[in-house]
């Protein structure tokens, strides 16, 4: 496919997804659509970290800071929604930039443990700093977003925003991977010594990836807070990065489409199995074990292999 052709089919797909809730008229499915959109964005942000070989367990905290930040900007400072929304994500990015200076020197499991401890501290701050973050009860009555004086209250409105966010996140991550910059970023995990020998300073690129990744997590968190209208600390702990890693492993790490596929498959599970949450978690665990053992490259790689084989046979 030519690039222009693939762009058109991408836009057509987005347009089709955008009209879907208005055809189905099912609020439950629309809710699942919103969650898939938000989680696709988050999973893409984790995919960036996987690309440089540094799984960040601080992403739950970044997601939470986006939610608390945007809510507080509107509630305490009375900022208009677009400013609060982007401002919160930029604040998260600033924090990532600051801690990234030192955190990114650490590699492998030590980085995971470090970001894990950092994420736990942030969640404990949410709980302990009651006057600002509302303690264990969190914040309630988070205002609805409004664009140019038009307040968004319906699920359909949130669906369109989540879809737009996911589509932009996907397009930008994909464009990044295909650019020269993306080649440098990928080479950092594969052969850092070789990359250094070309006169490239790896830390700058790692920092850039970390910041972009946290920006996406912050945006997704901000929208999530306004959608739920309550922001509680337990939503932003250890489970967020775990879910994101699960989504990426099951979908496939090598391609951003993997993150989308993983979110499509994993996000609806808890929503459909709400009455049997434990069975869902059990299924989750078993699915993850099976994928790790038998399809370590994920769903997308398997689909891709089948498609190629078929193409080879046709030719």
């Amino acid at each position: 496919m030519k690039p222009s052709q693939s762009l058109i089919s991408y836009l057509l797909l987005i347009a089709a997804l955008a009209v879907l809730p208005f055809l189905l008229r099912n609020p439950f499915l629309t809710h699942i659509g919103v969650m898939i959109g938000l989680y696709t964005t988050l999973a893409l942000s984790m995919n960036l970290m996987l690309r440089i070989g540094q799984i960040s367990f601080a992403h739950g905290a970044f997601f939470g800071l986006g939610a608390y930040g945007s809510a507080l900007f509107m509630m305490r400072l009375g900022l208009p929604f677009p400013v609060a929304f982007v401002g919160a994500a930029l604040g998260v990015t600033l924090l990532a930039w600051l801690v990234g200076q030192v955190f990114l020197r650490i590699r492998g499991v030590y980085f995971v443990l470090l970001t894990f401890a950092f994420g736990e501290i942030i969640v404990l701050v949410f709980i302990e700093w009651v006057s600002l973050f509302g303690g264990s009860n969190g914040l309630s009555g988070v205002p609805r977003p409004s664009w140019f004086g038009h307040e968004i209250q319906s699920r359909d409105g949130f669906y369109l925003m989540a879809l737009a966010l996911a589509a932009l996140a996907f397009a930008s991550v994909r464009a990044l991977y295909r650019s020269e910059l993306g080649a440098v970023i990928t080479s950092l995990d594969e052969n850092e010594a070789l990359t250094c020998s070309l006169g490239i300073n790896p830390r700058q690129y790692r920092l850039l990836t970390f910041c972009f990744s946290s920006f996406l997590a912050g945006l997704s968190g901000a929208l999530y807070g306004h959608y739920m209208t309550v922001v509680t600390p337990e939503d932003y702990g250890f489970w967020v990065p775990v879910n994101l890693v699960v989504i990426n492993v099951i979908g496939g790490i090598a391609n951003p489409i993997g993150a989308v596929l993983g979110a499509l498959l994993i996000v609806p599970l808890p929503e459909f199995l709400r009455d049997a949450k434990q069975y869902q978690i059990l299924l989750y665990g078993i699915l993850l074990i099976v994928f790790l053992l038998f399809m370590p490259d994920g769903l997308y790689a398997t689909i891709d292999r089948v498609r190629r084989r078929r193409k080879g046979r046709a030719a």
Partner: protein, 290 residues
Amino acid sequence: MLERPELFELAIKIVINGLTSSLVYILMALGFTLIFGIMRIVNFAHGELYMIAAFLVYVLAGSLGWNYYLVVILAAVTVGLFGAALERVLFRPFIGRELNGMIMALAVSITLQAAAFILFGPEDHSVERPVSGVIQMGTVMVPRDRLAVGLIALFILGLFYLFMRYTKAGLAMRAVVQDEEIASIHGVRPRIIYPLAFGLGGVLAGFAGALMAPIYTIYPYMGAQPMLKAFIVVILGGLGSIPGAVLGGVVLGLAESVFATLINSTVATMVSFAIVVVILLIKPTGLLGR
């Protein structure tokens, strides 16, 4: 202001509370660090081994009324065998691949928690304490059950030390932690060492879970807390370092006891995580790591 005798009493209390938690942290952390040192796997499922042992105590000693001390040994052995089986079936392909191994451990942890939840339900369970009451030491009161756990844990740690120090298997494990290639040149077979290390880690976690079962409540997510502690202890001491796990356990137990007594337990947790961040940044391999 506190008077001098009161201050002294408080200090004794902090030290005793701190040291009894230290011993349990060390039991958890030793297995955790051994598994990492030998296989480079961060065993996120270590807390679930603890949980399984506690539930074994609940079923065998609590419901069926078997002798508690017998059940403790039985639970530790069972969990040890289970750990060895986990290594063989699920972890073997991921040895040396740190990130994938860690994800596998997460998957195992999720699965075991959900399975326990389905089997036993969300509610808290408890078993009767085999010892109760307090011992008066001067002006300080020490609960007997905590003292008993402390003494048994100390005894198990002694056995573990003798095993690692004086048996061939212990020597082989220490050799693999230091350098797997050199160890295998000297005839150490990793295929035997891996399940042994995982099994031994399981036995220690099993003892910890079975010993703490009568003191704390038993529920499917009970493993998260000790796992977290083991994690902090091991980072303090250095991932893979056995003396480091002991030192880290003592440091964490005492530090927590001080902050929990003087401020509150949330602040104590926050401080322990802050220490972890600082240590990882300054010396990622921990206090005694290589």
